[in-house]
């Protein structure tokens, strides 16, 4: 994984926005089984605002890109996922500092700080059937983005049999079993977009962002 600049992070978020847009209905359907049927439209609204914010105001460091994105998510998403994803990106961005480029290892460490902030804010842990179940294994697999993508997907899949202990799905008790957690699914999209951006950077695949 080559060193990543602000452009890379913009591409990542643009790819994430496209993925969320594409899969919004699926995320909402997942949320309708165990929640309140808004996760897809929440994230679509948020990531649309993120790409608009990045277009309007082009921050020139990786940390600034993620912090702007995080602030934008907090200000536009609402729900549980807004503060949580917002905190994830803001916190990761802060951890990246203000260098113009970051390495894969730096990204991994920063993302770990971000994920830990999410766990602190939401009081959640692995196995609670939340976005953490996709994010935690993904961070562990970095800086290999392809492995991280697979780990996030696997983590999301692994939420299916779990009983939710956090968020809205927890109200269902036993009935939350048998459904994938919508936040874990969207986290897999986010990590998938990171891998796409990295692949594009390596010249293997040109991301559409």
């Amino acid at each position: 994984m080559a060193a990543m600049d602000a452009g890379f992070f913009r591409r990542w978020l643009t790819l994430a926005a496209a993925a969320v847009d594409r899969d919004a209905a699926r995320l909402t359907d997942l949320d309708s089984a165990v929640g309140d049927a808004d996760h897809g439209s929440n994230l679509r609204r948020g990531f649309t605002a993120v790409t608009a914010a990045l277009d309007a105001d082009s921050p020139d460091t990786p940390g600034a890109v993620l912090q702007l994105a995080g602030r934008t998510l907090v200000s536009t998403v609402g729900g549980a996922s807004g503060p949580l994803y917002g905190t994830l990106l803001r916190r990761t961005g802060k951890a990246l500092g203000d260098g113009a480029e970051v390495s894969g290892e730096e990204l991994r460490d920063a993302l770990r700080a971000g994920v830990e902030a999410v766990a602190r804010l939401g009081g959640g842990a692995a196995g609670d059937k939340t976005m953490l179940d996709a994010l935690l294994p993904a961070v562990d697999a970095l800086p290999d983005t392809a492995a991280a993508r697979a780990a996030a997907l696997g983590g999301a899949e692994a939420t299916v049999p779990l009983q939710a202990r956090k968020g809205r799905a927890s109200y269902l008790g036993e009935r939350s079993k048998g459904h994938m957690d919508p936040g874990a699914a969207s986290s897999a999209l986010l990590i998938g977009a990171l891998d796409e951006a990295a692949a594009g950077q390596d010249g293997t695949v040109e991301g559409d962002g």
């Binding site: 909402t28 359907d29 309708s32 165990v34 929640g35 309140d36 049927a37 808004d38 897809g40 439209s41 929440n42 609204r45 907090v74 200000s75 536009t76 998403v77 609402g78 729900g79 549980a80 996922s81 807004g82 503060p83 949580l84 804010l121 939401g122 009983q163 202990r165 956090k166 968020g167 809205r168 927890s170 109200y171 269902l172 008790g173 009935r175």
Partner: protein, 330 residues
């Protein structure tokens, strides 16, 4: 999909425009999504701010006005508002005596209101917070996000609002809100699922001969399904669940609430059974409110909220209130 809307994305903004047209005594900021008393800030008065996902109307915007809320922050449908709204609302209504945030206990609401409170703090606005967590359908609070806030919110907003209107200071208004939250219990039953604009169809499928017991107000499925029951049976079941959780030792306020699509005719009939069930179990009902107050879009069904009151709380209940959704006295 058949809804009275322009597009799923504009539902909340359209509704706020429509509220502004209908209620000249409200200051509706459509862009920033804040509904406030037009005379805010009321100097010398503690201000009350609440909010949450849209789709529960008249909660919260319909409860803004003298004797109740100073401002409401409506989120997207079933999605809690964002911290920017809470900051704006607090700045708008703070009359120098501080602001109470009344927050329904959902992860999203709690996180966003907390962030909003932090922002307000940075602007030197004094903010306290009371959490409403009255839904006894959520058992096992240790393994869940805790009890949801539902119908009890109306009691908290009304009684704390009356105290603020009387001139009580922030600590006292907060304490009263907390007492009311502590004394409130709710339980809800769905006879059909709501249709959200984002999904464009019912949020769960319910066979025509079954009920969802223990539902929330966001189209979430309930904790149990059962074969259809009569109004009397639902009342007995509901009252039993409520009293098992908290047996009042004094008179209660009763909210017999429609979830949106249940006709008032049926709701009044249900109220007759709820009152019978309460009376039969020795509970004295001091005041009853029947209607669609804390709704879940077009969900069919009902909920019952009980709140034990003493003389002071009863006086605050009877105090004048003048909002779009609740209005009496003066």
């Amino acid at each position: 999909m058949r809804m009275l809307i322009n597009a799923p994305e504009t539902v909340v903004a359209d509704a706020l425009r429509g509220m502004a047209e209908a209620h000249p005594d409200l200051a509706v900021d459509v862009e920033n999504r804040v509904v406030a008393r037009r005379d805010a800030p009321v100097s010398g008065k503690v201000a009350l701010v609440s909010g949450g996902g849209s789709g529960h109307e008249p909660l919260h915007g319909g409860f803004v006005g003298p004797g109740m809320l100073d401002a409401a922050c409506p989120g997207e449908v079933f999605t809690s508002p964002v911290p920017d709204q809470m900051l704006r609302a607090a700045s708008l209504v703070d009359g120098g005596e501080g602001v109470l945030f009344i927050v329904k206990n959902y992860t999203g609401d709690v996180l966003n209101f907390d962030m909003g409170a932090e922002l307000a703090d940075e602007e030197d606005i004094r903010v306290t917070r009371v959490l409403v967590e009255d839904d006894v359908a959520v058992t096992d609070s240790l393994y869940t996000a805790g009890r949801r806030g539902t119908g009890g919110t109306l009691f908290v907003e009304k009684l704390a609002g009356a105290a603020a209107e009387e001139g009580a200071p922030l600590e006292r208004v907060t304490a009263i809100a907390q007492r009311v939250a502590d004394a409130s219990r709710s339980f809800g039953v769905a006879l059909g699922a709501p249709t959200t604009p984002a999904k464009g169809g019912p949020t769960f499928d319910l066979p025509s001969d079954e009920l969802e017991l223990g539902i929330g107000i966001h189209g979430e499925p309930g904790r149990e399904r059962r074969a259809v029951m009569t109004s009397a049976e639902i009342a007995d079941y509901t009252v039993d669940v409520l009293l098992a959780d908290r047996m009042p030792s004094g008179p209660v306020l009763a909210l017999v609430n429609g979830m949106g699509a249940t006709p008032l005719l049926e709701l009044y009939g249900f109220n007759a059974e709820v009152q019978r069930a309460l009376r039969g179990r020795g509970v004295e009902v001091a005041r009853t409110l029947v209607g669609n107050y804390v709704t879940s879009l077009d969900m069919a069904g009902c909920s019952v909220t009980l709140c034990e009151v003493d003389d002071e709380l009863l006086r605050l209940w009877d105090a004048p209130v003048s909002t779009a959704g609740l209005r009496w006295g003066r």
